[in-house]
């Protein structure tokens, strides 16, 4: 498929008619446009023309009312159309999709629009019922993600390497579809129908023979069961496809939910933290109140100690007076005792007169002014004040208040963080995201069950096939010449089915090897780290980088993911049963300049036709495009007329 021209009318920011030619002898068309100008709308216009669906940034189908240019719709013009002119293997096609409201009233939902699709193939109009099958033959919607590339693939591609049980079924299936595996599976289904038909004819022939008839009845019953189970299998596969589609549609919301969920958990954590801090604060206030009940004595201690020091000093002075007075009194008493006895009790000599000495001592005693009552009073005061003792509440209160101050800081910080998260959460539709997540989980669970049922049913059909084959062998032994040719036909069908069944596994292996080989070769061209050996493919077509030692590289940057994804897309295009144009929206966002240059050099060889929608931050026209100048067909610039209108201007070509 080669797109020659795209014409849009009132689509997104493109008010009125706009025409973009992608025709020419060279493979690459560049459309430059800064953010919000309409690059993604251009990609959506192609998707909408082909399949009637435009996707928003969450990959959800967009409502028609939102697709029509706002200036046009506000002036009452709700007509919108996109025309694609393309050829497939030299056969010209013109596809036009057009919508307009059924009534003159302002449309409010998709059903308010009448949609018309016209397809001219090789100058002949196709019937309406032939159009969708024809488009799906040319570029099936289910493989369109490899041609209309807008970054979605990166997320899906990364899921190929994720947990096998939970990974998306759709992308692996889409890869096998683009590589042509279903064609072989369809052949097996057709051969089975042929086998059943030949077998029925054989059984009709054998009804006359009793033994053969009995075997024929058993064979018929087995085949009937097989037919039922095959129908069930088809039904299960259809259900699996539907559920996978639903799961894919929910994927973006699920990713959004994961982010919201993280925020909700963070919010819960912050709230719990704040609650815990407040509980501790409340407990500490209670502890402080308890401590304050007896703290007045502690507060009084410094003043009491000051007073005690005064009293103790007074007590010391009084004690000193007391000791001096006691000493003088003792001496006076000794003099008086000696005088009264008249002789010394030791030497028995007459006692000397000591009146003068006594008078002196008595004078000193009088001067001491010792007051016994005062001493008793001071000592009692000291004892009483010493009983007024604090219980160490000051230290307890200090520790409590230090912790309270810290709690205030922690609570303020936690509340600020909580408010930030709360602001984020309140901007999300949490309930819708949670619902989407539940639906996604349910779909994932059902997909697992359906896959198991499909496996069980396939095994059961194989057993029934073996049983039927056994009956046929026995019938062949009994039957005469008349049945021989029919027997031969049945055998041929059986052998062909076996051959194709073996072939489909072999085809898968070979295709995987071919994809691995080509992806590795492309990866080596694209990567700036030449020490890598290449890429290793897994069962789901997930690719792992292999280093110089042959080991898997476990951690990859976002840029590396993009290079690996582009390698896969390149390899799939090389091995695809159908080749188509690659339209890439903002493909270089994550890449450094050297990788960007490598990929730009590779783009012309990636597909027969490549349309790159890029902004100035990704590709600098003067600096980056020299390496592919000879491969560029045309360059357009999406110019902003107003916030609601853009237009294409040719810059080169």
């Amino acid at each position: 498929m080669h797109i020659k021209e795209v014409e849009v009318h009132n689509f997104g920011p493109y008010h009125g008619d706009h025409r973009v030619s992608l025709d020419g002898g060279r493979p690459v068309t560049l459309i430059h446009g800064e953010n919000m100008r309409g690059k993604t709308s251009f990609l959506n216009a192609i998707r909408w023309a082909l399949y009637g669906t435009a996707l928003d940034r969450f990959k959800r189908p967009m409502e028609r009312t939102k697709l029509v240019n706002r200036d046009a719709s506000e002036s009452g013009d709700w007509k919108m159309s996109v025309k694609l002119v393309f050829d497939v293997d030299g056969v010209p096609y013109e596809l036009t999709r057009h919508i307009q409201p059924w009534l003159n009233a302002v449309p409010r939902r998709d059903a308010d629009f009448d949609e018309r699709v016209y397809l001219i193939k090789d100058h002949e109009h196709k019937k309406p019922e032939e159009i969708a099958p024809e488009i799906n033959r040319v570029l099936p919607e289910r493989v369109s993600r490899f041609f209309l590339f807008d970054g979605e693939l990166l997320n899906e591609y990364e899921s190929l390497l994720a947990d096998q049980d939970r990974q998306e079924h759709g992308i692996k299936e889409a890869i096998e579809r683009i590589l042509g595996v279903p064609a072989v599976e369809n052949a097996i289904a057709d051969l089975r129908t042929g086998l059943r038909d030949a077998s029925k004819r054989l059984q009709d022939l054998l009804r006359q023979d009793n033994m053969a008839n009995a075997l024929g009845t058993s064979l018929r019953a087995t085949e009937s069961q097989m037919e039922t189970e095959e129908k069930d299998l088809e039904d299960l596969k259809r259900q699996l496809d539907e559920r996978s589609k639903e799961q894919r549609a929910l994927q973006e919301q699920v990713q959004a939910y994961a982010t919201i969920q993280k925020d909700v958990e963070e919010l819960d954590r912050r709230n719990a933290e704040i609650e815990k801090l407040r509980a501790e604060e409340e407990r500490l206030h209670a502890d402080r109140r308890d401590a304050l009940a007896g703290a007045w004595k502690d507060l009084l201690q410094p003043a009491l100690e000051g007073r005690l020091r005064q009293l103790e000093a007074a007590e010391d002075a009084l004690m000193q007076q007391f000791r001096l007075a006691t000493e003088l009194e003792t001496k006076i008493k000794m003099i008086d005792d000696l005088a009264q006895r008249g002789t010394c009790p030791v030497c028995q000599q007459a006692a000397p007169n000591r009146d003068a000495e006594r008078a002196e001592l008595a004078g000193k005693l009088q001067q001491t002014h010792f007051d016994r009552d005062k001493l008793a009073e001071v000592s009692a005061s000291i004892r009483k004040l010493r009983r007024v003792q604090g219980a160490g509440a000051a230290q307890t209160i200090r520790l409590i208040e230090e912790r309270l101050a810290q709690i205030l800081v922690d609570t303020t910080h936690a509340e600020l963080e909580r408010d930030k998260v709360h602001d984020r959460v309140k901007n999300h539709n949490t309930a819708a995201a949670a619902r989407a997540y539940q639906e996604w989980e349910q779909a994932t669970k059902e997909i697992g069950l359906l896959q198991q049922c499909i496996k069980d049913r396939t095994d059961s059909i194989r057993k029934l096939e073996a049983q039927a084959e056994d009956y046929r062998r026995k019938i062949a032994g009994l039957s005469g010449i008349a049945a021989a040719s029919l027997n031969r036909e049945v055998e041929i069908y059986q052998q062909l089915i076996e051959l194709f069944r073996h072939g489909v596994d072999e085809l898968r292996n070979q295709l995987r090897k071919a994809v691995e080989r080509d992806a590795s070769e492309i990866f080596r061209q694209l990567t700036t780290d030449k020490s890598y050996q290449g890429l290793r493919i897994n069962e789901s077509y997930g690719l792992t980088i292999v280093d110089a030692q042959g080991s898997d590289v476990q951690v990859r940057s976002a840029g590396a993911e993009q290079v690996v994804a582009l390698s896969l897309i390149g390899a799939l295009n090389r091995n695809a049963v159908r080749r188509g144009p690659v339209v890439m929206d903002t493909p270089f966002g994550r890449l450094d300049p050297k990788h960007r240059e490598n990929i730009l050099r590779f783009v012309p060889r990636m597909a027969d036709q490549a349309v790159l929608l890029v902004h100035g931050g990704e590709v600098d026209r003067t600096r980056d495009l020299a390496c592919i100048r000879d491969d560029i067909n045309r360059e357009y610039e999406i110019e902003r007329i107003s916030s609601r209108r853009s237009r294409f201007a040719t810059t080169v070509g």
């Binding site: 206030h285 402080r288 109140r289 308890d290 304050l292 009940a293 703290a295 007045w296 004595k297 502690d298 507060l299 009084l300 410094p302 003043a303 009491l304 000051g306 007073r307 005064q310 009293l311 005061s381 009483k384 004040l385 009983r387 007024v388 000051a394 209160i397 200090r398 208040e401 230090e402």
Partner: protein, 129 residues
């Protein structure tokens, strides 16, 4: 004159102690009352003798072990004949300070203890009166 048997606070003092109780600073008003007496002693503050008091508590409830009476009699000899009347004036001065600190949001008991230990506002034994 006989000493007071029922003691209380000025109107402003009552408002302040009610606020401290309501704000959960103290378990009981009597706890705040005793703490206020100690604070006033430490700060060397006392409400004027002319203050009009509204009695609220019996001295037996406020001073079960007579520690307050002892402290006032020992530290303020001049007030020794009517210690509870003096305690009432001390409590009023202390409660007004606590109320004012609480209102300003600067009531930190650890700070009060630190200031008292550092000698800021520690009262010298007063003469009472």
């Amino acid at each position: 004159m006989a000493d007071a048997v029922n003691i209380g606070l000025s109107e402003e003092g009552h408002a302040a102690i009610q606020m401290l109780k309501d704000a959960g600073v103290f378990n009981e008003m009597q706890d705040a009352y005793r703490f206020a007496i100690a604070l006033a002693i430490a700060r060397g503050k006392v409400s004027p003798e002319t203050t009009k008091f509204r009695s609220n508590w019996h001295v037996n409830g406020i001073d079960k072990d007579e520690s307050i009476r002892t402290v006032i009699m020992e530290m303020f000899p001049a007030a020794a004949d009517r210690p509870y009347a003096y305690a009432e004036r001390l409590a009023d001065a202390g409660v007004l300070e606590l109320g004012s600190l609480h209102k300003a949001g600067t009531l930190r008991f650890a700070d009060l203890f630190a200031q008292v230990v550092a000698g800021a506002g520690v009262a010298a034994p007063a003469s009472g009166g």
